[in-house]
Symmetry: C2
Subunit: 271 residues, 2 copies
């Protein structure tokens, strides 16, 4: 695999997440914008973010955004719901390029999807604790009812690749039962890891509930933000920087998301 | 709760872990050395260590040991099996105070305990991948057979407080079955989180298997290393520094381990 070389490449879309979850956003970006160059940073030295404080997640997000900017990123996609909820509102106004998180597009899609007016949201402890989804949904329509539940065990199960496993199903059922009994008709997958569990979640929820995938809706928002014809004439490229070496990362990227990676390097960030 | 004040206190035993697991070592140290002052650092901003590389875990351990030393620590107890396996061999010779990990005492206790010569070890992916337990056990007795299994889901389950839960039991059974069928008579709990699951592990293993608790054996080693009468004349004290605020931390310390905490502060380390 050739190594990452900044000078020879056009300005990329910078994308970051604490670990592998943001790759679901990369997969959707690739589908929506097949010619773009993407520079992805996975903060695997400090993964996960979902149980950490707003102050710490904001510091990590600033350090990574600075790095992506220094690599020439023309926009920054925060492919992590926890960082989108806790850091984007503070950081976005301070950067000279557009910074777009996964939260607002997901909230807007949920508002559009619901018929019954009852929306469920699942996410990390930090995302749910911030109430960012409830606020974003209710700022668009104050009449909607939002039930949000923190699902802290899902990220570890996904990082282990246990997508279709009895333990994952039991844990999911436990998290989802209370909101299903409240009659939601729309469920926001408020963590970029969760699309990897879509099949298991669909089995538990049944066909009557619409699943809102924040990765997919973020890619749609990025697409409409970029000027037409902004693609890389030399063809698509995916360069990956990780803050710590990580075996599981590549396995999931290649097997579950069918992503072609052009370069992969380990890079220190912040410390 | 009064805040932590370095100048007014005698030299502490410095203890660190990535998160809450090292508190099981603190609880054993408190039992063995009831008068000592303990200064504990939990690296909750970068927790967990168990899936990270030797290079990253060594860098984190060095930053924390430097901080404990600057706070006057008279010895450093590495209350984390991952850091004991990956960082202590490199770092210990470089420090002016004794640095003691949990791995060597646990390995020695397992060698002493086995009758059948078949020892099982459970730990994080990084600890098991390093083969540090197998090497330590076989350096004491090359005839012993060691079966080591990585149990990456146990730390997240413990951090969620699911000590007595069906999901935890199912996951444990899955990890332990292969080594039970190999006829081990001794099982090393090779992660300082695991003593919190002792009851569930005991139920699955039955009474025929000796559980070796690395926390307990580390406290015995620290006790024999410290000169008699080294206790703090002003009575015991436990000061805690965390690198990120953490609710779950206090809950587990107080409820599950019955530890009295004299001060708790958040402190940045390394970055």
């Amino acid at each position: 695999m050739p190594s990452f070389n900044k000078s020879s490449s056009p300005p990329p879309i910078g994308v970051f997440d604490s670990g592998i979850g943001g790759l679901t956003v990369v997969a959707e970006l690739r589908r929506a914008l097949p010619l773009e160059r993407i520079l992805y940073l996975g903060d695997t030295a400090r993964v996960p973010y979902g149980g950490k404080s707003a102050e710490t997640v904001t510091r990590y997000s600033r350090e990574i955004s600075d790095l992506l900017l220094s690599e020439g990123a023309k926009m920054i996609v925060v492919a992590c719901n926890t960082a989108s909820a806790l850091a984007v509102p503070t950081l976005a106004p301070a950067y000279p390029v557009p910074m777009i998180g996964v939260l607002e597009p997901g909230a807007a899609a949920a508002v559009k999807a619901t018929r019954s007016g009852r929306i469920g949201v699942i996410g990390t402890r930090a995302t749910i604790g911030s109430e960012a989804y409830s606020k974003a949904i209710n700022s668009l329509n104050p009449d909607l009812s939002v039930t949000a539940i923190a699902c802290p065990l899902l990220v570890p199960l996904i990082e282990e690749g246990l997508f279709d496993d009895e333990v994952t199903k039991t844990v999911l059922q436990r998290y989802l039962d209370p909101m299903l009994s409240q009659g939601i008709d729309t469920l926001v997958l408020g963590c970029t890891h969760y699309p990897l569990l879509k099949k298991a979640i669909r089995t538990i929820c049944g066909d009557g509930i619409q699943l809102v995938d924040s990765a997919e809706n973020c890619a749609i928002a990025v697409n409409s933000l970029l000027a037409a014809g902004s693609g890389n004439a030399r063809g698509p490229r995916l360069d990956i920087l990780l803050t710590d070496s990580s075996e599981g990362f590549l396995r999931i990227a290649e097997k579950s998301l069918d992503l072609k990676i052009d370069s992969l390097s380990v890079r220190s960030v912040g410390n």
